[in-house]
């Protein structure tokens, strides 16, 4: 089956005072149609940088893409002329941002912000754009869209603003949506509603999604596949059931053991000791080495590749000890 998005060896670097440093190294993944890939990791691990690199939203100065390719329906996003990328962005490929309250324009009505995307990308008149915006608001279950259309973002709650963001990103029936921590700023009951809504819309629209989050609980309920990131690299990727049932990378295993669960009394929890290495002080070899349980059996000088497991080609791990 063909892939919607195929990213190979993507590395992005940022300029600090003392030179260029890589925020992400050797990111490779592929996404099928109607598949959700959850990218999970701690803050600073490069989840958002990956999405921003692919969307062409990196700051013009002080950042660069060192290597890699990203084929979106057969065309490379990274070498595409800006004008062409602009046409794809917001229509075929869109993004939902983390902070719904600050990502919307405070001086435009929420309805007109949705209609704007339709107007620019779909070659329709203003009246048709408005009609489509109202449809979309209904689709994301905003009660009474006609009256809400003329509201400003400050009139709405965080959950409602996030619905507007989702409506905006779905306006032109995208093939691919990047969702960057779309539920992190919301309360749990609203988060649950958003997870339900996104899952439902994904089925209806047959779209693919890259869902960026730090919350393994959310991952378990939205993802088809999971990519676990640590210090700028993908350390493990697997179908969601396999990853939770049979995690292989020592970081994934440690992470799953370190989160408390609501349905258990959490007697066997062990935190991961130590800290993530900083961007200007990355180890040469495996980046998890210093915190790894099995470091006595391993060596610090070799940077492991992301390789499939022997008996399961769908499950890839970046670890010298895993086969």
């Amino acid at each position: 089956m063909k892939y919607i998005l195929e990213v190979k060896n993507l590395s992005t670097a940022f300029k600090l005072q003392s030179g260029w440093y890589r925020a992400t190294t050797d990111i490779s993944f592929a996404l099928r149609q109607n598949e959700t890939l959850a990218v999970v990791g701690e803050s600073g691990c490069g989840k958002s940088v990956t999405a921003f690199s692919l969307m062409g939203l990196l700051p013009e100065h002080g950042s660069r893409i060192d290597s890699g390719s990203a084929l979106f329906k057969g065309e490379d996003l990274l070498t595409m002329p800006r004008e062409k990328l602009r046409k794809i962005r917001g229509s075929a490929m869109t993004m939902i941002f983390q902070e719904p309250m600050t990502s919307l324009n405070p001086v435009l009505t929420v309805g007109s912000q949705i209609a704007e995307a339709v107007y620019y990308h779909m070659n329709v008149g203003k009246a048709a754009a408005k009609k489509r915006a109202l449809e979309l608001m209904d689709m994301v279950k905003i009660p009474d869209p006609k009256n809400r259309y003329n509201d400003y973002p400050h009139h709405l709650s965080g959950g409602m603003c996030q619905r507007i963001m989702i409506a905006m990103s779905l306006a032109c029936e995208p093939d691919l949506v990047f969702a960057d921590e779309p539920t992190t700023a919301l309360d749990v009951t609203i988060q649950a509603q958003m997870i339900y809504l996104l899952n439902e819309l994904k089925e209806k629209q047959q779209m693919s999604m890259v869902f960026i989050t730090h919350d393994l609980g959310v991952v378990a309920h939205v993802a088809d596949r999971v990519a676990v990131m640590y210090a700028g690299t993908i350390v493990e990727t697997a179908p969601v059931a396999d990853l939770f049932a049979d995690p292989r990378h020592p970081y994934t295993r440690a992470l799953l053991k370190s989160i408390p669960r609501l349905d258990k009394d959490n007697k066997d929890i062990t935190p991961i000791q130590g800290m993530v290495p900083s961007i200007d002080n990355m180890p040469e070899g495996c980046r998890f080495f210093a915190r790894c349980e099995k470091k006595d059996q391993c060596r610090p000088d070799e940077f492991p590749q992301l390789l499939p497991l022997k008996n399961s080609s769908n499950h890839q791990v970046r670890c010298l000890l895993c086969e």
Binding site: D187, V188, Q191, A192, I259
Partner: protein, 326 residues
């Protein structure tokens, strides 16, 4: 009269705090927000008592009223036998040595222009806790207690990661050997792996220094891990109170059940029914008549929209405010 060993460390009795706000221009209208409405609970010695609920439910206001960082409107707060709501400033200052707070945001709760040493030494000077020559040694001891090295004493907050800053925040709370610590979302801003490190540090300190915590958090899984008892708040009121296993394994109040079902469990083999949840938290300016939760409640009866349910004691320290159990 109970014996002093069984007496709770902190007793909060019918605590109420209403905020008055003005809205509108030019003819502004005054509204009352019942941030905390008739809340009672106690915290035992060496216990972590959790306060959980969604944003805006008043959990932080309770924490601040307990320390009198916000003046409560009515109700009493007893630390052992002392009613702190009646104290004057001087008495309050001396009793604050026994109760301290850890703030949520380790980035903004430390003064960026002061070294860690300066931040930690000042309160010791103000309260004249020891000879000036010893202060530095005590601070170094304290930093080692929270897992930082002595070398950090001359560093500035920006040189630390979030987890390390929260350790400094904990060290600051421990300066006076307090008996009660209010931890207001103390681990919410931290990454998962660091969150556990800090929770275990707090746990170890509890054993070592016989501390009690009032632990405020929106994260139910963290509350379940860290606390022994928990109260669930909704729009300024307690809806349910009990031990963590009672509350999370057999929730009685429909809101507790809603919260529990909405919290995603990190296990894809568990099916969670996210579809059943409807509506949002109403504005605290105009909470619904009757039970505040009834518009979102699947089991609402007629009486729920008319009367706020009474607090029902169910024994074993468990209580609930719901007409279903009346």
């Amino acid at each position: 009269m109970k014996t002093s060993t069984k007496q709770p460390l902190l007793t909060v009795n019918r605590l109420t705090k209403h905020f008055h706000i003005k809205r509108g221009f030019p003819k502004s209208v005054s509204y009352t927000v019942k941030a905390v409405d008739d809340v009672s609970f106690h915290v035992n010695r060496k216990e972590a008592f959790g306060l959980a609920g969604e944003s805006g439910c008043g959990k932080s206001t309770v924490g601040r009223c307990v320390l009198r960082l916000i003046e409560p409107d009515s109700g009493q707060v007893f630390l052992q036998n002392t009613d702190i709501t009646g104290l004057n400033n001087q008495e309050l200052r001396s009793i604050r040595k026994k109760m301290q707070i850890i703030f949520q945001d380790p980035y903004s709760s430390l003064n960026p222009r002061r070294t860690i040493g300066q931040t930690l030494e000042e309160p010791m000077r103000v309260h004249k806790l020891c000879e000036n020559d010893n202060i530095r040694d005590i601070v170094i001891d304290l930093l080692e207690n929270v897992g930082l090295s002595a070398g950090v004493i001359d560093k500035y907050p920006h040189e630390f990661s979030g987890g390390q800053r929260q350790r400094v925040g904990i060290a600051r709370a421990l300066l006076f050997n307090p008996e009660l610590i209010v931890a207001d979302e103390a681990v919410s801003a931290l990454d998962v792996s660091i969150q556990m490190q800090i929770l275990q540090l707090l746990q170890n300190l509890k054993e070592k220094l016989s501390l009690s915590y009032l632990f405020i958090s929106h994260d139910l899984a963290v509350v379940r891990y860290f606390c022994q008892r928990v109260a669930i708040m909704y729009l300024g009121k307690f809806v349910e109170l009990g031990s963590v296993s009672q509350i999370f394994d057999e929730p009685l109040h429909p809101y507790t059940l809603t919260l529990r079902n909405a919290s995603p469990i990190p296990d894809p083999s568990i099916e969670q029914a996210f579809a059943q949840l409807k509506g949002e938290v109403p504005s605290p300016i105009s909470p619904p008549q009757g039970c505040h939760f009834h518009p979102r409640c699947a089991k609402a009866k007629d009486i729920c929209s008319r009367e706020y349910p009474k607090w029902i004691e169910l024994g074993k320290g468990r209580g609930v405010a719901c007409h279903l159990y009346g």
